[in-house]
């Protein structure tokens, strides 16, 4: 009797924890919006999130803001759907995003900044060099590139996070309609 109760507790607890972890991992992105390689939860930090998104955001994007203040787009693949690799060279191309200010930041898959000699981790609307037509291009590469360059040498796999702070009303209402930058693989060893 005691052994049976113990077995029920151990197996039930294990099943409950495993299913919770799997649900947070998979259902945490439920209802997210995809724009090319970029994915955004409809509300990363607001109080009306579902329990799985709340738990997922707590683990992977602690202290995210509600959507009216900031929209977060994450990309772990290029525009062709291939996983972003630190050993490859990519070109991010786009136009200024519909927000008061925006940034594109490079992270390892652990969601922390990647060490590099330049201490350059991101480009923002305030410091990215624009092309003559007003667009921008940012290179991701393990070797130095001309213009806007983020060094990927110290990471095997990489992810990008685009932040739109104080997004324009139309963008906040319909993040799926935002013209996000493309991510094109240029070379791979």
């Amino acid at each position: 009797m005691i052994l049976r109760a113990l077995a029920i507790l151990v197996i039930g607890t294990s099943l409950g924890l495993a299913s919770a972890l799997a649900a947070v991992w998979h259902l945490g992105g439920h209802g997210s919006v995809r724009v090319g390689p970029w994915i955004t939860p409809l509300d990363a930090g607001g109080p009306n999130r579902g329990p799985y998104l709340r738990a997922a955001a707590a683990l992977r994007a602690t202290l995210a803001l509600a959507r009216q203040e900031a929209i977060y787009f994450r990309a772990a693949t290029d525009s062709d759907g291939n996983t972003l690799q630190g050993t490859c060279t990519y070109l991010i191309q786009g136009a200024d995003l519909p927000a008061r200010w925006w940034s594109i930041t490079l992270y390892g898959t652990d969601h922390y900044l990647i060490a590099n000699p330049e201490n350059r981790y991101a480009y923002a609307s305030a410091n990215v060099a624009h092309e003559p037509d007003g667009s921008f291009a940012i290179h991701l590469s393990p070797t130095r590139q001309p213009g806007n360059w983020l060094d990927t040498a110290n990471a095997a796999k990489i992810v990008l996070l685009t932040r739109l702070y104080q997004p324009h009303a139309a963008a906040a209402a319909a993040p799926s309609h935002i013209a996000m930058p493309s991510i094109t693989r240029q070379s791979c060893p």
Partner: protein, 172 residues
């Protein structure tokens, strides 16, 4: 049939209860750990710009200056004020479940200080003075997080001064 009622159903019941409890607890445990770390710091705490060496919070923005105040409303509401400059600066209030229950920024009332009166479940005053925004936290503990734009050295210098005007105090 006996195995179903005596083993399988109780096991599934335990699994369901643990599942619900775990999903509920994760954000609260994360916030508890965040608050435990920030409670050891001065309030407000003005963190340096994020670098690769900074691994306290995932997905830090290297373009923002962050300052925090730990909110413990057990002794009374918290009065928070900051005077933004001309650049992006926001105050975000998070409850014990990591929900961003309130956010104001420099454009909420341009040219004026942001003043918040943050109340907990047991410390709700009836009204706040007209120049103070009343924020109901919904929990006794929480976190105030200031973000100030620092994408260039000029922005960093201006907003370093602005964030130093942050004051967090408990009204007893």
């Amino acid at each position: 049939m006996r195995a179903l009622t005596h083993i399988l159903l109780p096991t599934l019941l335990v699994a369901a209860l643990v599942h619900i409890a775990a999903v509920w607890a994760v954000p609260r445990i994360v916030m508890h750990l965040v608050l435990r770390a920030t409670a050891a710091q001065a309030s407000p705490h003005h963190a340096p710009l994020a670098t690769a060496a900074n691994r306290a919070i995932p997905l830090p923005s290297p373009d923002l200056l962050y300052s925090t105040c730990t909110l413990d409303l057990s002794a009374g509401p918290a009065l928070v004020s900051v005077t933004p400059g001309p650049d992006y600066l926001s105050l975000a209030v998070f409850n014990a479940a990591t929900d961003n229950v309130f956010v104001a920024n420099d454009q909420t009332a341009p040219g004026h200080p942001i003043r918040l009166l943050i109340t907990g479940p047991a410390t709700t005053p009836a009204t706040a003075p007209p120049d103070i925004t009343l924020v109901h936290l919904g929990s006794t503990h929480g976190l105030l997080l200031l973000r100030a734009l620092a994408a260039t050295p000029d922005l960093q210098a201006r907003n370093e001064a602005a964030r130093r005007t942050l004051v967090c105090e408990t009204l007893r």
